[in-house]
Each structure stands twice: as structure tokens, then as C-alpha cells.
């Protein structure tokens, strides 16, 4: 056995250099391992803030040497579909109806009474949990009385937008109801201001509704968020992995779907994008239990801070040593960029604008390890998805917010369009923005996303073909093969097209082809910048 180990090791090492496996590119995560038990644990938002702001969490990009590329992606650079993310609008254009439907539209609260089974009586915007007449569970959240429609519209719009971008989100329904529909459940407890539990009374319910704005016809407007499938297991962090989930093998700060989330958070001003606004649940699908990861609570997006208008500081950290020192010692004469933003007075939108917005400068309220680790290819992956959501799509999505003020709705749409365009411009220029590679009639074809979206295009691209050794990764240039036409490919094997921007030669893409049974197939894409 001892003699066998070195031999096996050599074999493993030599074979381990292989770039592509037979099943590449994977579309989905392999079928998850069965998970019997996960612990539902709550996080501390204070700890999250302090540990992320002042501590070291997750594995950061090295200051020198090659960066850590995103993981949990296939050889084409696309995240594997599964527990975290699914291919949606960019990969298969969704109709406006599908976008409006989002994760579902067939589970709105049923007619009949709503039985309140728990409540949050404190705070500026209280809410409650109820079961409808079909015993389905909903989390009911309201707008602040100072800004009707602001949080409920943000929740409706952004949850559907994030669904279109591939994330798992809850089904959120905008509902209008009168107080007589609410029935207090038996033995419902609430906690008083000192945390002491006591039996909830009808008066508590009345006091909740006093703090809630009403529509012109006297109804209450709320988001009814359908309870997520499965058993809640607490929020996933933006770093590390869950210790009790065998399927969670890639540190979250290195997942492309989490790194790229930065771009979507910037787009929607989701500065509250922190762990406690996500949730893992232990779901059972086709008889298999596994942990699924959801994005939640979009009420603090698009200019809203859920209980009030968002702070004008949105897009900068609560605290930064450098910025604080500059501000302190300049006596405030150094004015930060966000302070120049001008916000029109739309109470149902809050502080949302596009003129000062800069996707490269935008950050959430405090450092997020996944966001900080993003690389240009992570940003490109996100930007191409954002740009795929057309103006018309955005108008359809914004309509789900059911804003009464049509000028506010128009402004919100304009902001989303212009912020999206800024994202496209910013991230398409950081690398060669070619995508959607295909082999058509013996040619390698692609789409220049910068050109497609009117940002000027990437310019001319040179192509060089090489034969590719999958075991050694050695490239052997093919003489005379310098166009998009596929070179002569004798037998099965691997070839690579090296695409180089003539404007910025460091911007390169390698497109790998594999020929099996006489049919060439694109098997991998590497981007350099």
C-alpha cells in the first residue's frame, strides 16, 4: 500500500491538471446531499456590523499575486444553478407577464378572515404574521405613516427584479384590506417594550393599525409575504460556509452569485444588503431535503429605509477611517460625492436618484466580504444580466409597486434605467464585453454587449486559434487561423480561440472548444483584463 500511494499521487497530480472534465460545462449543481438537520440560529445585527466594519471576516483578495477567481461557477463562468441561484431572464428572455409574476402569483392571501398569530407591536413600522383562510402563512409588513407606499412598493418591485436576476426570493403580494378582516388568534403573545411576553389583545392590533397609513378609500395597504418553503435555518453569512450543510462547500465570499450581488445592490440602492436580510431554509423537493438560500426584505431599497426615507448617505459606509479623517480635519470643506445628490420630492419613492450615482463608488452600509472580493468578471456577469432587463421590462416591474403618484412611478423607472446604464458602461469597459458565444455555420460568433447596448462597442477584436492540450493546458498555434472561422479540426480534441481587444490588448477572452463525435461545442470561457 505504501508503494501504491506515490504512484496514485503522481497519477492524480498529472491527471489533476486537466482543465476540462467530460461533463463540463455543468449547468446545475449536482443533486444535493440529503440534509436531515440544520440548526436554526439567529445572528446579531450589531455583531455583524462591528465584525464586518472593524474585524476580519472571510478570505479577502490577496494584495499581491493573482486574484482569487469566483468559484461555484461552471467552465463558462456561469454560476451553477441550484440552491443559490437559477438562470433566468438573461439566459431565457422572460416576458413582461413573467417578470410581473415573479416567483409566483397564485398564492395571494385567500378571501376570508386573516388570523393574526404573532405581531411586532413596537417600532415605527409594526407588522404581524397571519394565516389566511387556507391556513397559509404570511408576513404582513406596512409602510411608515410618513411615507405611504414607499416600502411596500420597493418590496414588490425589487423582489421581482431579483427573481429575474436569478435569486430565490419570497412571493410578495401587495394587499389592500380593512381592519375587520383581522381576527386575533388564540393565545397570541406579544412582547412589551421591555421584552416581557404577554397575551395580545385586540387593542394591540388596533395600536398597530394606528401607526399604519391608509389609502384614500380607507383601506390598509401592505406587503403579504408568503412564508418560505421549508424550515427556517437562519441567515447565510456573506462569508464562509454553513457548518451543518454538506452541500455548502464554496466560501460565500467566493461565490459569483454573491460577489455579483454587489452590482444589483448598487442598482437598487440595497444598502441594507447584510446577512440578516437573507434566510436559509431546509426545503424538501422531490423527497430530498437540502438547504436553500433566499434573499429577503427588499423594503429598504429604491430610496426607502422601510420605516422612513433612506438616508442621503446611501452608498457609503457608516464609517471609514480615511473618509472620516478627511472630513474631520477639512472641517467639512471636503464634501463627499453623495452629498451633491438632489432628490425630487416623491414621498412614495424617497431618496433615489441616478445623476450622482456611481456604481464603482457605491458600497453598502458596511463592508461586505463577498462584495469586496468581486472582480471585473464578477461585475461583468452581473452587469450583463442587469442590461438584459430592458426599459420596457423595467416599466413592467415598476408597475408592480402600484404607486398612486404616476410622476413618482415615472421617476423611479427613469432612475432604474439610468442607473442600469451606468452599470453597463462602468463594467463593460473593464474587460472585453463579449458574450453569448456560439458556433454558427463553422464560425465562432458572439455578441458585443457594449455595442448592443449602445455604449460604443469594444472595437475590433483579433482572433488566434490554437490546438489545446487538455492535460497540460499547452496551446499550439494553428498557422493561418486568425479569423472567426473555425480552423481545421482533425479528430476529437480541444481547440482554443484567443480573442484580444485591439484597443486594450490586456483585455482577452479564451474560448475553448471541444469536439466529440465530430461536433464542436463551446466548453469553456476565460476572461482576462
Amino acid at each position: 500500500m505504501r508503494r501504491l500511494i506515490p504512484l496514485l499521487l503522481i497519477a492524480a497530480m498529472s491527471a489533476g491538471a486537466r482543465k476540462f472534465y467530460d461533463d463540463d460545462p455543468l449547468e446545475r449543481e449536482p443533486k444535493p446531499r440529503r440534509v436531515e438537520q440544520v440548526k436554526s440560529r439567529k445572528l446579531s445585527d450589531y455583531y455583524d456590523l462591528f465584525s464586518h466594519q472593524f474585524g476580519k471576516v472571510g478570505e479577502k483578495q490577496p494584495k499581491k499575486g493573482p486574484p482569487i477567481r469566483a468559484r461555484a461557477v461552471n467552465t463558462l463562468g456561469e454560476p451553477l444553478q441550484g440552491a443559490w441561484w437559477e438562470k433566468r431572464h438573461y439566459y431565457r428572455t422572460m416576458s413582461n407577464e413573467e417578470l410581473i409574476r415573479g416567483p409566483g402569483d397564485g398564492n395571494a392571501p385567500a378571501d376570508g378572515p386573516w388570523t393574526v398569530i404573532s405581531a411586532k407591536t413596537e417600532g415605527i413600522t409594526p407588522g404581524f404574521v397571519m394565516r389566511d383562510s387556507r391556513k397559509r402563512l404570511y408576513f404582513v409588513k406596512f409602510d411608515p405613516i410618513s411615507n405611504p407606499e414607499i416600502a411596500t412598493s420597493a418590496d414588490a418591485i425589487t423582489s421581482r427584479l431579483f427573481y429575474a436576476l436569478g435569486y430565490h426570493v419570497p412571493q410578495n403580494y401587495l394587499v389592500y384590506f380593512t381592519e375587520d378582516r383581522l381576527v386575533l388568534g388564540e393565545n397570541v403573545e406579544v412582547k412589551d417594550s421591555r421584552g416581557r411576553p404577554r397575551k395580545m389583545t385586540r387593542r394591540d392590533l388596533v395600536e398597530i393599525m394606528i401607526k399604519v397609513p391608509r389609502t384614500a378609500d380607507g383601506k390598509y395597504r401592505a406587503t403579504a409575504s408568503l412564508g418560505l418553503p421549508g424550515r427556517p435555518a437562519g441567515p447565510p453569512r456573506y462569508y464562509g460556509t454553513r457548518a451543518d450543510d454538506p452541500n455548502d462547500v464554496v466560501p460565500h465570499e467566493h461565490r459569483r452569485d454573491q460577489r455579483g450581488l454587489h452590482v444589483f445592490a448598487a442598482w437598487t440602492s440595497h444598502d441594507d444588503s447584510r446577512a440578516i436580510n437573507n434566510l436559509d431554509t431546509l426545503v424538501e423537493e422531490n423527497g430530498l431535503k437540502y438547504v436553500k438560500h433566499f434573499q429577503l426584505d427588499f423594503g429598504s431599497t429604491l430610496g426607502s429605509a422601510s420605516s422612513k426615507v433612506n438616508s442621503p448617505r446611501s452608498g457609503v459606509y457608516f464609517f471609514s477611517w480615511k473618509e472620516s479623517a478627511i472630513s474631520l480635519f477639512s472641517l467639512g470643506l471636503h464634501v463627499p460625492y453623495w452629498a451633491h445628490a438632489k432628490y425630487p420630492d416623491y414621498p412614495s419613492v424617497g431618496r433615489f436618484e441616478w445623476k450622482v450615482f456611481d456604481p464603482e463608488r457605491w458600497v453598502p452600509e458596511y463592508p461586505n466580504p463577498a462584495f469586496l472580493n468581486r472582480l471585473p468578471d464578477d461585475e461583468f456577469w452581473a452587469a450583463k444580466q442587469a442590461m438584459a432587463i430592458s426599459d420596457d421590462n423595467l416599466r413592467a416591474l415598476v408597475s408592480t409597486g402600484q404607486l398612486t403618484d404616476k410622476a413618482a412611478e415615472k421617476w423611479l423607472t427613469e432612475c432604474l434605467i439610468e442607473r442600469r446604464n451606468k452599470i453597463g458602461r462602468a463594467y463593460f469597459r473593464k474587460l472585453l464585453p463579449l458574450d453569448q458565444f456560439a458556433i454558427v455555420n463553422g464560425r465562432l460568433e458572439w455578441v458585443d454587449l457594449s455595442e448592443k447596448h449602445g455604449f460604443g462597442g469594444a472595437g475590433p477584436v483579433s482572433v488566434e486559434w490554437s490546438a489545446f492540450d487538455n492535460e497540460t493546458e499547452k496551446r499550439t498555434p494553428i498557422e493561418g487561423a486568425a479569423s472567426a472561422s473555425l480552423p481545421p479540426m482533425n479528430g476529437d480534441g480541444y481547440w482554443v480561440a484567443g480573442l484580444t481587444s485591439t484597443k486594450i490588448p490586456s483585455h482577452k477572452i479564451s474560448v475553448y472548444l471541444r469536439k466529440r463525435g465530430g461536433v464542436p461545442q463551446i466548453v469553456g470561457i476565460d476572461r482576462q483584463w
Binding site: 500511494i5 486537466r18 461533463d23 446579531s44 450589531y46 417594550s193 448617505r313 474631520l328
Partner: protein, 414 residues
């Protein structure tokens, strides 16, 4: 590095047989993870912070045991650190009635007893009722003598008073509050007990400091109006607060010290650069008036100097029958929990209302820091400079503290 033989064999067999797949690679990672599974949990530090919030430990400490809690601070400047028990309930009459009673003792021997009942939200938040009683023993209130040219050297006097007041106010609109007050004030002043300074009656005559030799009791009543459209009372960044209060003090014993008092306090907060910069302005004046043969007792005269008006001067530095003060403060956001501030203060005391003008103002200037959370200032540090030196202030409130309506309790002195 430890290489597990089983894994290696599995891996190599797959590779050598050409069966290696991406799926197998992922499965191998899952295998490794599966062997090391453990319950997902949080660290002790995180659990501690989580429980503080979830179980409302701070709220429980603040609310005390069955309403009994510690009351810290809030003694007059110079009184030292104060501590004492307070009984506080806000759950009577279904939360409509708030009551409290407290006793405080300071490191300098000052004592303060208070009892209060408040009905803050009657008639749909349009009516406010408040009854308050207090007993204070301040052993060494500082006094520099009357007038704008008073000496820098300090004296001190004993102030003992008992007061009972009732206050009622209506809110006819969102920003407007109108009300009145009625109460009694029983005062005793005597030799100061702070041995660092001379006692006031040894330095000043009754002509200079009316009432220093004879004490009396007052029946007092007043009206007030407030238009307050600040965005936050605890840490305003925009809006204004305009207050006027007119009070009558009737000497019940000697008929020598009856007077009228007018307090006007105008505050304006001008935000710019998206509220990251604030210009805070205040103009405040207190004017008194007497009938013929009456005087304003020195301990009820307005004073200037201290953390809320002339910040480059000692507390109670100037006092006379009338006062005015102007403050301008430029604040800028350092980060979301801290503002920097640069300020200038100008003010004076004067014997007659005819001197109400901008001449001969005492000036001070300085800088400071305002620590805030959720739009409320919880700590203010100011360093004020004047021709008399500099003062450093640590205060747990926002600058331009508003005078309470119709009562002296909670005031620095009156």
C-alpha cells in the same frame, strides 16, 4: 498536509479510469465537508450581543425592577455626579399615564427629589397634562455678582426650594402647542457650603443681590406657545423651533419680589449638502419687569455662561435682570455617528430692557463633537474659548436645550 488514503484511491481510480468528472470533484468536496459537519452556531461574543438586543437587556436595566431603577446625572452644573433611585411607570391607564418619583444625591452633597405625573396623549394626542413637584437642595450655586461687569471671582450660595406646578397644553396643529401653567415656589437661600469660594452674602449686599437676605414664596403662573417643526427634537437637522413663554411670579410673603418674565427662544436649523452640513442658529432672550417698588431676586434672574449659551465662560458667569444670547453653529458630518462643530456665541446680561441690542456682547467661540445615534445626540463635547480662558463641556444632550414650560424642575436653576 494529510492525505487520506481512501480519498486518494477514490480520486486516482476515477482519474486513471477516465471517469473523473466535475460532478465527482464537487461530490468529493461534499464528502470532505460531510465528514466535518457540526451544528451551525454563533460565537459567544455574537450570542452576547444578540441576546442584549433580543432579550432587551438594556431596556430592562433602563426600566428597572417593577418600575424601580437608577437615576443617574441630571444635576445642576457644579453639583458633581448624582445618583439615586427612581420609580417609573408608563403603563397606567393603558399607557395613557406616565408617573415617576425620584431621589438623587450627588458627590457634592446636592439633593433633588421629584415626583411627576404626565398624561401626554389625551384627546387623540391633542391635549397634554403634567403635574410636577420637586424639592432641591443645592449647597453651592456659583454667583459672580450682578451685571455685565461682574467679577471673575466666584462666590456661592445655598439654594433650597420646593415647587409644585401644573401644566396643560393643547396641540391644535401638528407643529403648534399652546398652554398655561400654575404653581407655587418656596425658596430659601443661605450661605454657600462650597469651601472653595466665598459665600455670596459675604461679598454682595442685598442692594446688589436682591433677596440674598430675605426669602419668600411665590405663586406663579404663565402662558406659553411653541411652533416646532424640527425634524427631530433630540438632534435636529432641519426646521425651526420658536418658543415664547410669559410668566408671572407673585411674592406671597414680602410683596417685594413680584415680577414678570418673558422668555423667547428662536432656533433655526438650515441643512445643506444633503443634510451633511447644518447651520444651527439660535437667538434667546429673557426679559423681566417689575411693578414699582419690587425687585427681581438674584436667584431668579437669568444668567449666561455654561454649556448651552456662552460656552467659553464658566457656568452662571453673568446674571442680571435681562439677558440675550446669539449662537451660530456650523456642523458637518464626520461619519454617520459623529458630527464636528464650530461655533460662535455672543451674549450679554443687562439691567434694563433698553439695552436689548447687539452692542457690548461677550463673545466666545470653539469647536466640538456630537455623537449621535438614530438622529439623537447622546454625547456632546464642546471646547469654548473666551477672553476668560477656555471651558470643556461633556453633555448628554443636544445644544440649545429648551427651557421646560411652567416649571423650574430640570432647569439648571430657574
Amino acid at each position: 498536509m494529510t492525505v487520506k488514503t481512501g480519498t486518494l484511491i477514490f480520486c486516482s481510480v476515477l482519474l486513471c479510469s477516465g471517469q473523473e468528472t466535475r460532478t465527482a470533484e464537487i461530490e468529493r468536496q461534499r464528502d470532505e465537508k460531510a465528514r466535518e459537519l457540526k451544528p451551525e452556531d454563533v460565537s459567544k461574543g455574537e450570542r452576547f450581543l444578540r441576546d442584549i438586543k433580543e432579550r432587551k437587556y438594556l431596556e430592562r436595566v433602563a426600566s428597572g425592577y417593577n418600575g424601580l431603577r437608577a437615576k443617574i446625572g441630571n444635576m445642576v452644573t457644579g453639583g458633581g455626579f448624582a445618583l439615586g433611585p427612581e420609580y417609573f411607570r408608563e403603563d397606567f391607564l393603558r399607557g395613557q399615564l406616565t408617573t415617576r418619583a425620584s431621589a438623587q444625591f450627588s458627590t457634592r452633597g446636592y439633593r433633588k427629589y421629584e415626583a411627576e405625573a404626565i398624561l401626554p396623549r389625551l384627546a387623540g394626542d391633542h391635549l397634554f397634562l403634567n403635574a410636577i413637584a420637586s424639592r432641591r437642595t443645592y449647597r453651592g450655586i456659583q454667583y459672580h455678582g450682578p451685571g455685565p461687569d461682574s467679577s471673575r471671582s466666584r462666590t456661592n450660595y445655598l439654594l433650597e426650594d420646593t415647587s409644585i406646578d401644573g401644566i396643560a397644553a393643547v396641540k391644535p396643529g401638528r407643529f403648534l402647542k399652546l398652554g398655561g401653567s400654575l404653581g407655587g415656589l418656596w425658596v430659601n437661600v443661605g450661605p454657600g457650603q462650597d469651601s472653595r469660594f466665598a459665600s455670596s452674602e459675604q461679598v454682595f449686599t442685598p442692594a446688589q443681590a436682591p433677596g440674598i437676605d430675605r426669602q419668600t414664596n411665590f405663586f406663579r403662573y404663565g402662558t406659553f406657545g411653541q411652533f416646532d417643526y424640527r425634524d427631530s427634537a433630540a438632534g435636529p437637522k432641519s426646521g425651526g423651533n420658536y418658543v415664547m413663554q410669559f410668566s408671572w411670579f407673585r411674592d406671597q410673603q414680602l410683596s417685594l419680589y413680584s415680577f414678570r418674565r418673558l422668555d423667547i427662544d428662536l432656533q433655526q436649523y438650515v441643512p445643506f449638502f444633503n443634510r451633511s452640513r447644518i447651520l444651527a442658529l439660535r437667538a434667546r432672550t429673557t426679559l423681566t419687569d417689575t411693578d414699582a417698588g419690587n425687585l427681581v431676586p438674584f436667584y431668579l434672574q437669568p444668567f449666561l455662561g455654561g454649556s448651552d449659551d456662552l460656552r467659553g465662560f464658566r457656568p452662571f458667569r453673568f446674571s442680571d435682570r435681562n439677558s440675550m444670547v446669539l449662537n451660530a453653529e456650523y456642523r458637518w458630518e464626520v461619519f454617520s455617528g459623529l458630527d464636528g462643530a464650530i461655533f460662535v456665541d455672543g451674549g450679554k446680561v443687562f439691567p434694563r430692557r433698553g439695552f436689548l441690542n447687539f452692542r457690548d456682547l461677550e463673545g466666545s467661540a470653539g469647536f466640538g463633537l456630537r455623537f449621535n445615534v438614530q438622529n439623537a445626540t447622546f454625547l456632546r463635547i464642546d471646547v469654548g474659548f473666551s477672553h476668560e480662558g477656555f471651558q470643556v463641556w461633556f453633555k448628554f444632550n443636544d445644544v440649545f436645550n429648551q427651557r421646560r414650560f411652567g416649571t423650574t424642575t430640570g432647569q439648571p436653576v430657574y
